[in-house]
């Protein structure tokens, strides 16, 4: 059942790649994404909430001598991300321009990325994960380098080098873990770091975290991402920030927390600090931007810090918050990039100094402005929208363990409000320039992705139970493996 999530997009990518007409390619890609989305939804309804372990597992021996097996499975950590992947792929395909040049290649690459990401989320074997992790590298490089903006070459190369390095580091860490622990298989369940000396564990975990930190991205390993996000076309930016970045955070929980339960609590205070700094750093940088897309890019870096703080804290609530924040961030970022893309497309600029008065109901973009207000506020953590639900769980879960970093995060969400107010005041408010304001009207098909995403953001914000119920058993299970951290909690509570 799970293989379909990898094979269908792979096969579809090949078919799409050979189609002649762009329209056919688009239709095919869109129906594939739709099929995948329906399929993941169906899996979700089959998902057993009482089971904390893996579900729908599949196992095939592949290259036994090197310990590689085709082992798939999903749990409460990967299931929501799979749905996000399928949904956002649909959004990416749908919101791509109908007249994209070399359309068949473009859509084929997007489907390839989808397959790679789904494989990485599903893999239950370290080598298989790396394989899928690397599979998305080249397609994304091409997506930026061919369909990107002005400085696409620079941005794409930076992305390629960084991500390749990240892949190598992750692979090195995995190999180290397997060899040092004397395991012959790379399957997740047969790998254990418990018997390794603490120092070896620390070194391996650090290497792994640097690798994942590049992907997430965490400060100071982030510099590829603003360039890549800005230079990529809006749909590709959604792909990058909404889905690919989640590979890093997924790895953080899956490999960092789950594979190194002993060492995790040792480095957790440092990680929480890095997380808090990331949040602050991203927000402050976003305030200083003049380009709305770059602002959103830095905002994304900031929001990833919450995931790190929550994962570091490692309580059942905070791990839940970390997973919820991954999904929430994916949805909101996709919405923001989509809207910013529409603004750039219609108005022809992303400069704050040039944008003005888009809320004008007659000649502006009133609906886009309204949704932009909502997306910005969702990102800033206004209650009633999904961002708040996730962030609040993060705050409440992390506070007992790391009070100061949590408070810094709360404070930084105030800075989030600052840059979104700057963005909204300049973009939506103000006087529309009557000489220049002859913008094309928005067609309904252009509105659909933003409307769908907004509806989800609003719905999950009002009913967060629908978001977290899938993640809860796994999050609790993950947190319970972190014995030392739990003891710290117990100590803190008794001290009070």
């Amino acid at each position: 059942m799970l293989s379909a999530l990898i094979l269908v997009p792979l096969v579809a990518a090949i078919v799409v790649g050979f189609t002649k007409s762009g329209q056919t390619a688009r239709t095919l890609a869109l129906s594939t994404a739709g099929l995948l989305f329906v399929w993941t939804l169906w899996l979700l309804f089959q998902f057993d909430l009482s089971d904390t372990g893996l579900q729908f597992s599949e196992y095939l021996t592949w290259a036994e001598p090197i310990g590689l097996s085709y082992s798939l499975g999903t749990d409460g950590l990967s299931m929501p991300l799979l749905i996000l992947n399928a949904l956002l792929t649909g959004v990416v395909v749908y919101s791509s321009k109908a007249n994209t040049p070399r359309a068949s290649l473009y859509y084929a690459l997007i489907l390839l990325v989808n397959a790679g990401v789904a494989g990485a989320f599903l893999a239950q074997n370290l080598l298989l994960f790396v394989l899928f992790f690397e599979l998305e590298l080249i397609p994304v490089y091409l997506l930026i380098a061919i369909w990107g903006g002005e400085k696409r070459g620079y941005a794409a190369m930076k992305f390629l080098l960084y991500t390749a390095l990240s892949g190598i580091l992750i692979l090195a860490a995995f190999l180290g873990v397997a060899w040092l622990s004397g395991s012959f298989s790379f399957d997740y369940d047969s790998i254990s770091t418990e018997n390794l000396p603490l120092r070896a564990q620390l070194i391996l975990l650090t290497v792994l975290l640097v690798g994942l930190g590049i992907k997430i991205p965490l400060v100071p390993l982030h510099t590829w991402s603003p360039d890549a996000y800005v230079e990529a076309s809006p749909p590709v930016a959604i792909l990058l920030g909404g889905i690919l970045a989640k590979l890093g955070t997924y790895g953080l929980v899956r490999f960092g927390l789950q594979m190194f339960p002993n060492t995790w609590s040792v480095i957790a205070p440092g990680l929480a600090l890095i997380g808090a700094i990331s949040v602050m750093y991203g927000s402050l940088n976003a305030i200083a931007q003049n380009d709305i897309k770059r602002m959103v890019a830095y905002s994304s870096i900031g929001h990833m810090g919450y995931v790190l703080v929550a994962a570091a804290a490692g309580t059942d609530l905070s791990v839940l918050g970390a997973v919820a924040q991954m999904v929430a961030h994916g949805l909101i970022l996709a919405l923001l990039f989509n809207l910013v893309g529409i603004v750039e497309d219609k108005v022809g600029t992303r400069e704050l100094q040039l944008l003005n008065g888009l809320m004008n109901p007659v000649r502006g973009l009133p609906l886009v402005s309204g949704l932009l207000v909502m997306a910005g506020m969702a990102s800033a953590g206004i209650p009633g929208l999904v961002g708040f639900a996730a962030e609040f769980i993060v705050f409440q879960g992390s506070f007992p363990i790391f009070p100061i970093p949590t408070l810094v995060c709360i404070l930084s969400s105030g800075l989030t409000a600052v840059y979104f107010v700057i963005l909204l005041n300049r973009t939506c408010f103000g006087k529309l320039n009557n000489e220049l304001a002859y913008y094309d009207r928005l067609s309904w098909s252009e509105r659909v992705p933003a409307l769908v995403l907004s509806a989800i953001v609003l719905f999950l914000g009002i009913q967060p139970n629908w978001l977290i119920r899938w993640m809860e058993p796994t999050a609790t299970m993950l947190a319970s493996t972190l014995q030392p951290t739990q003891e710290i909690v117990a100590q803190n509570v008794t001290q009070r």
């Binding site: 305030i287 879960g397 408010f429």
Partner: protein, 619 residues
Amino acid sequence: MSHLFSQSAWLLPCYALLGAILALPWSPGFIRKTGPRPAGYINAIMTFTAFGHSLLALVETWNQPPQALSFAWLNAPGLNISLDLEISTVALGACVLITGLNLLAQIYAIAYLEMDWGWARFYSLVGLFEAGMCLLVLCNSLFFSYVVLEILTLGTYLIVGIWYNQSLVVTGARDAFLTKRVGDLILLMAVVALLPLSGTWNFTELTAWAKTADLDPTLATLLALALVSGPIAKCAQFPFHLWLDEAMEGPYPATILRNTIIVSTGAWVLIKVQPILALSPLGSSVVVAVGAATAVGASLISIAQIDVKRVLSYLTSAYMGLVFVAVGIGENHAALVLLLTYAIAMALMVMSTGGIVLNNITQNLTQYGGLWSRRPLSGISLIIAGLSLIAMPPLGGFWSLVEISDALWQSRPLLFGVVLAVNGFVAFSVTRLFGLMFGGKLTDFTRRSPEGLWLLVLPMMLLAGFALHLPLLLAQWQLLPDWASLNRFVAVLMTWSSLAGIGFGALVYLNPNWEKPVRLNPQALQDFFAYDFYTPQLYKATVVFAVDRISKLIYWVDRYIVDGTVNLVGFATLFGGESLKYNTTGQSQFYILSIVLSVAVFVILASFPYLSQFATIGF
């Protein structure tokens, strides 16, 4: 007795919310055929329904114990958040006030925004506010109080920004949002920090917990300060008071709500968390100090303003300051009564001046004059509003202010002095407002100034009648302080302070022989008040400056240090490759040389331990 209406009180916020949602299709122009007006009518009908419902529910719960309702919202490990509602008489009374004032404001807005194109957005936001406020007074949970306050912060941003194409509106909306947001976030910190300590966010349980809680004093103080900061920002208290002044750029009908019940949301939450504040003596003192300072400062500033709406906004801050004082000393009942009498009086005051601003085109007080002959109804309303705001028997404000003063008289004479002075200042300020608008000679702006549309006048007159009857109602509801135990001396003093304020005000502003505009000596002192204690400059020089500079600095670091290092590495690699390529000369000797050299280096490195051993033996 059946509990049909009180059991279904959770519908009250839903009506308004439904109205807000139904108005949306008109906003970006999905529905163009009908024009935007149906959006307003739908909302008015919804509000009327909510008003009727809350009134019936109030009658039902009269003298009944509060009922509790609970809806599960979030179930996570160790975190079960449920929306607890407490259907009490006080809460339903507040709902009646909220929906009633909303209804009047919405009718008023039909006339005031007659030609406006932002109807749908305006009514939708008013509906959101009404829903939020009803939910806030009904809910019995600190968490949801925070949620509502935060959503209303966003609402303030949007409703102040209704006329978004004017630059002052844009900055006003921005400042209102950010100021309130800062307060809300500090409140959020308290909400997050409180749960591990108390294990609950339910106000009833929190009150019980606070009675027995044994907190570290520093922690209790920090907690109290964080809890207070939300209300400080909401109620426009020093040093977060500027936003209310700037928010006056928004439309007048929204001001009716903002100056009365929206700012009161902060005070409501403050009253609810008062038991926790009481855990820390310093926390309570801060509440009193902030309230007293704002009351005195803001009432003085209001005297120096020449913009009608700004006069009203600083009076709002001043009265919220008095509420803070009352809560700080634990007089929650008095604070609630003051909120009620104040809300009615201030709403009437805003309405009576709004119609004048609408068709005299100016908000500048110095350009008014002689309106008494033109608009007697507005004038009478303003008089009634002013008298019921201050301590003037037998109107509403008298009773609530006297109740607070009575509590202060024995224990804190200094604070009593503050209340006495503020009452006098406010009386002076209101008389000045009346004098400048209605007294004196007609000006070019006021010569043609008939009373407005009946939709403006009707809500105003209804409210004026209600304000006049308020003391009777208070007596009926047994909310008046007990006359027998009341300190008559205090009551007389308060009355005299009002009379003194009115007298001086009349002497200066209703006296044609007194030269206008009035100049205060020295000029610097007048500027100090007129320019709002130079708070905008203070903000600019501190917080705004710091955030701006730090963010620019960080971005510089990001570009040139963090990214710069990366680019340097890239550049060095490129440069290295570029220069090394000249080594590929094709001469075999060169290759052999490099091989030999590398091998030599490798051998030396590999045998380094032995060599060093050898070296030590040698020496």
